[in-house]
Amino acid sequence: MSRVGAKRARVQGMKKDYLKIRLFLFSALAVLLILGALFSEQICPCDPYGQDLAKALQAPNPGHLMGTDAYGRDMLSRVIAGSKVSILSTLSLVAFIAVFGTAAGVFCGYVEGLPDSVLMRISDLCLAFPGLVFALAVAAILGGGVLNAAIALAAISWPKYARLARSRTLEMKGRSFIEAAFLSGDTDLQLMTRHILPNIAGPILVTAMLDIGTMMMELAGLSFLGLGAQPPTAEWGSMMSSGRSMLQTYPWVVLSPGLAVFATVAVFNLLGDTVRDYLDPGQ
């Protein structure tokens, strides 16, 4: 190997090691956040719903690390309890749209023809709605609540996965390994699940990872507007909303959940970026 080649290989090796460290770090942080959300009841220092008006609006102190809100509830406990709604609902939302969108896309790309046209026009229709307006409509029809907000977000975000999966499926279908598998007697379902899906899963996984942050912001945004989680449920968006009039005087009521959203979205976005770099180092 030439000297230039050797140097390049060494640099690439270092980059790969650095990537591995990043991947480990961010997935550890993400797992920590998810565990925290799962066991939020066990790790809350105080009762997130226990009101004590005598302690209302205390600044952060050793007893209440993030202070208390207008009803004297411990902010730290509420932020931890809120992670359950925010993180778990975001994760299940993203998992659902990724699975559903991918399944629809692979099916469309594989069969083509009429079913493809119909499903793709429906997806165009879904994409045509501005997210917030659609969420407002859903909330108006079904009422507020995290589930309804998630339904509204799912309806406008599955087409992204369907389109990605469809175009990759069309590309795969022309490859000779698919033709060879067909000649080996594979059924359509086998071709889709055994051969096409594993070969297109990479970019879809990356899209889903990067979508976690976006979806979390949107869910929190809808709750902030009063279309998602309803008070007194501890949820970051609605907590920020209820504290927004006190931003000047008691900033911790808004800043604590705000910081939580910021940190969580950052962790999942960085993880998504790292996974993307890891899966296709060419970019």
């Binding site: 067909f182 080996s184 594979d186």
Partner: protein
């Protein structure tokens, strides 16, 4: 008269273009592949050779005409008929690496047709290793991935896959064209031996007329989707009637 294994009757294929109208890849092509013979199909790039191979295998439907293998109409076979059909007829592709799923081992690909016919696992593994050995590789290649082997080794594995369910007809679509000359000679040698041992009838699609000469009994010359002439290899190559065939031969010899 010998038995015709494949009967292609006035095959045509038209590809519908999105804005530049339609492209005709094949015009009214008819031929027969007889039992035990090797029929070569030659022609330059774009002459419709690969389209013909795909039509014969049922990988795409013909625009008109039909392909018969025994009593099965290839273009219209249902799932059950297809399983029977592909137990009689298999294909080897030009792009050996691309014809294996990059996420699965070679052994997995070779055993696929056996798995789809519900053979027990140990039996499949035994047969896959046997096939690999028969095609000049060792049994360990079953656990390798396509990226870990050379083009020639991969094409041997592809031949092993095609032979896994003991077909009587083999369709070779430019199966040696992507390989360098020495490897090409080895693969042709392997194919000659397998043809002898297994009594295969072969449809050999190739642009290299020199290879066709040493491998085929009969030749069909294709140009721009039409059959120009056909005949026994020696006769056709020594006294070609069509000027295009003459030009094709002169380009090599």
């Amino acid at each position: 008269m010998r038995k015709a294994l494949i009967k292609a009757e006035s095959l045509s294929k038209v590809f519908a273009g999105k804005n530049k109208g339609e492209t005709r890849a094949l015009y009214d092509v008819s031929f027969e592949l007889y039992e035990g013979e090797t029929l070569g199909i030659v022609g330059e790039s774009g002459s419709g050779k690969s389209t013909l191979a795909k039509l014969v295998c049922g990988l795409m439907p013909p625009s008109s005409g039909s392909v018969w293998v025994g009593r099965t109409n290839v273009g219209k076979a249902g799932r059950k008929e297809r399983l029977e059909l592909y137990a009689r007829m298999q294909m080897v592709f030009q792009d050996s690496k691309g014809s294996f799923d990059s996420r699965r081992t070679l052994g997995d690909g070779i055993g696929e047709s056996l798995r789809n016919r519900k053979l027990p696992k140990e039996e499949i593994r035994r047969r896959v290793e046997e096939l690999l050995t028969d095609c000049g590789l060792s049994g360990e290649f079953a656990d390798r991935y396509p990226r870990e082997v050379s083009g020639g080794e991969c094409q041997r594995a592809a031949i092993a896959r095609a032979l896994a369910i003991k077909p009587e007809i083999l369709i070779l679509d430019e199966a040696t064209s992507a390989l360098d000359v020495t490897v090409q000679a080895q693969i042709i040698g392997l194919l000659k031996r397998l043809r002898e041992e297994r009594g295969l009838s072969i449809l050999f699609i190739c642009h290299n007329i020199a290879l066709v000469q040493q491998f085929c009994d009969r030749v069909l010359v294709l140009k721009e989707g039409r059959v120009l002439e056909s005949g026994m290899t020696d006769e056709l190559l020594s006294s070609p009637q069509n000027p295009y065939t003459r030009a094709l031969i002169e380009a090599v010899f």
